[in-house]
Symmetry: D2
Subunit: 288 residues, 4 copies
């Protein structure tokens, strides 16, 4: 027997009886379901589901739950599933460069106890935000890639070693202005969250606020997404916008955008920590 | 055997196994579930659920489904449920007074085929909008209550007879400026949708835009809700807002508010037609 | 002497004293300023201004005001200006194809007296919406371009003749699915308003809701803009957005988008009718 | 001669020629106007204006500008005006209790250089946030009012002395859960900014998120306003809202509300620091 709650995130081709089978499996083994959300993508004919149940009367020990779920459903329903436990906190690394607003927002939430998460380290390619990390007592690591990029592999190896050593489970790029290596993306598939300062797919790439100003849009946005190999093209987790006017300059857009970036990034991080996000074919299912 | 889809809306005290039982009942009888959404109110310890399934292989004839559901679950789970069929359109009466914007919006959607609904009649206490009803070829009935209210009962009786004769299943008050009788509310419990031109509970009652102007708010709103005996206090279905500035006058608020009223009312009507709303203790559960 | 109000929209390089000079000119000639809004684009070093004043004690006859303004300021300040009168209604032609929602929204506002505008004609490339035009008693003209486009010039000539004959001052494309000729754009520079069903510059061109679905965005938008020769690239007048979820299909996006399209188009039309829009270098200044 | 910019905020009964006169006064004395926004309240027949001009060629010394403005216009136009200088930073005291989210947001902006402001002190009625103040190196003062309120006057005197000593020009209540004394309100009229965690005037007073949950609203809000003697009834500076659903509990509303509170408070503080707010009859004019 165990305490806490188990969470399963799954998806599989939609067929009759899956919900009955899966909820029956949990109920029959003594689990009390406290959350169930499911969604059938009728175009893809695919079922996505999130179930959360209390473990205190559950007859399967937690270390064997994933195995039992797979034995029951993986082959039969061609089901992909992940099992999490509410008392096992995700471990989040934050990558930053020079801008402090997202970092402060993340750390203030962490410090105020808003999130069930650990933050063992902050990584940067600049010294600028060391002081912020120290304000919150979190180890701060700086690796700079040389202009000739000669030390690129060395830096990546050092970063990966840190992430392994600290058992980091996901990474948040809080306005980190450097490309993430393919190796790191492969190691953390759909577990690296970036904030892009535009309403994607508008204004991909550099200086989106200046692009927005040039185009004369009346609304600007921010987008948080999982990082994939293609720049600014990974599955979108959350977006939000704010109205602007002809009075705004590129500079005022940068300022207004900061508030968007903070809130959009934090909402994505919240959902990730809660294990409420599934990805499929470059789209996210974000349960409420 | 039958065609089309069945929809069940239900709520009951939350207990283990209900989802398994209900989905199992449908699956076992040959129904293919195409939509399931559920929500557990953890404060009330109450389960709310909406299930939709295809009837073409379902073994229970449609006229006996409600009975079969009740036999299986009503007593056992203290369950309240309603059963609908996708091919049985709700019949909507529209009540109006003098302002045309909500009426036009409703009729344009109806005419464009946005809704699976019939609109057999429009009722008013003024002649003003007869022309609009005629533009769309919908019967228009006018009953005026005399200043001394001597004919009140007579008017209500005539209205109720019309609603019965036309098999009206729900009523939409599209800026209808007259109090609905207790009798009509009792006959259509949580089936009369009103649009109030404020962000309730702010600015209850008359002239909310003027109240909003006086208070100097920076945002105005509109609220659609089911009508109950207490004025502007029924379960809220949908709300939305729009930003205003110090430049707005009560008159410009009225104009800006119109767009809100139309859209907020139409969203509520859409959800009602789709049978996606449950009410409990003066709150609505609106499935997505 | 005259009644009503005059409106001047102007822009010129920013220099000291312009506001004093222009307001002084109006005041000195007996005009009572009831509205003044101005904006200095500090990047372009350019002043944009809108002034509205009462004509009843104004000493310059209305037919000579534009001339007097030009004599006083055009050369001296390199000023471009337009003069309008509140009692001279703009005349708006509506172009439609098959979808009714924007057309109904425009006509309902017109019919309810929301706008100081005349609508002498509706033009289409399909017969579908003739009935809607007839509901509102507005002449409906259909010209179809042959598949081999052999009659293209003939159609354009006929359309232009209609617009001239009806003294049309601006055109609203209410989901008109055909390219506007360069000749018509040249005749109505920044006086043809289009509604594009995406948050431009995202999803230019055809089927933007399907593009949005494919990309997996969490918000969709609509954009009204003046038509220029480059597709979907003219000065943006107004944009708005609505939140969507993973549950939305391309079809539900189309439905949700309709409400956006109606409201975004109507806001742009409102501002145009009020003579509150200036354009400069593919951007709009929209006074509040 | 002087450098920097001067800002004048003024209001007076609307009469012909004021704009010409005031802008003429500045231009004639060598000032280059870089910002002018004005608004005529047509119901109150009152003009509100904000002008900003460069001082480097201005012939009136800065210490005599206010006097010169008054001499020219105060009596003649019954004009109320305030004069500020862009290089004289406002000095802001922050009052807090136990919740850190607004405080962190304010301090992160301050630290990142977003605002032209000084923050000489943080005042609290609890020790809880001392650590946050220390993280940012800002003096933190705690005065607790005894349960029997016997030391109330003493506390107020100490607070007022601190504010005087530090030349505080305005106060921000960042979720400060104690009533401000009439004396302090009188000393800082329309210079104390509060954040109330509801969409005022809905849910005045305590526990607004719980009130919102009980009423079943679909949107929650936050309101920043100047403090007056009547609770939660002062002039509103800024409001914003966020959509919620039936799935939200009072606890999740508290969390969602925090993000609103931060952003709504910061927007109000920004406008106050920029000297863009005028108040009149319990309403604010907030220039863009």
């Amino acid at each position: 027997m165990s305490t806490g709650k188990a969470i399963i995130l799954l998806h599989c081709p939609d067929r009759q009886g899956i919900i009955t089978d899966v909820t029956g499996f949990i109920t029959r083994n003594g689990g009390n379901i406290v959350y169930l959300d499911q969604y059938v993508d009728t175009l893809e004919k695919r079922l996505f589901m999130r179930i959360e149940w209390e473990l205190d009367s559950f007859s399967i020990p937690r270390e064997r739950i994933k195995q039992a779920v797979d034995a029951a459903f993986a082959e039969r329903y061609e089901m992909y599933s992940s099992v999490y436990f509410s008392d096992e906190k995700p471990r989040m690394a934050i990558f930053v460069s020079k801008m402090s607003h997202c970092l402060y927002d993340l750390l203030a939430r962490y410090y105020a106890g808003e999130w069930e998460v650990d933050i063992p380290c902050i990584v940067s390619n600049h010294e600028d935000l060391r002081e912020v990390a120290e304000q919150f007592g979190i180890p701060f690591y700086v690796w700079k890639i040389a202009p000739d990029k000669s030390n690129r592999e060395e830096v990546e190896r050092a970063e990966m070693e840190l992430l392994e050593r600290e058992h980091v489970t996901f990474i948040v790029l809080a306005r980190y202005m450097q490309v993430i290596s393919d190796g790191m993306i492969a190691r953390y598939p759909h577990h690296i969250i970036n904030i892009h300062h535009s309403f994607l797919p508008a204004f991909v790439g550099a200086r989106p606020y200046h692009q927005a100003y040039e185009r004369g849009v009346k609304i600007i946005g921010a987008t948080s997404h999982y990082v994939t190999r293609e720049l600014d093209a990974g599955p979108i987790i959350e977006q939000d916008v704010v109205r602007i006017t002809h009075k705004d300059t590129p500079e005022s857009l940068v300022l207004k955008g900061r508030d968007l970036e903070k809130i959009v990034l934090s909402r994505a991080v919240t959902r990730h920590i809660e294990r409420k996000i599934l990805t499929y074919k470059n789209r996210t299912i974000v349960f409420g």
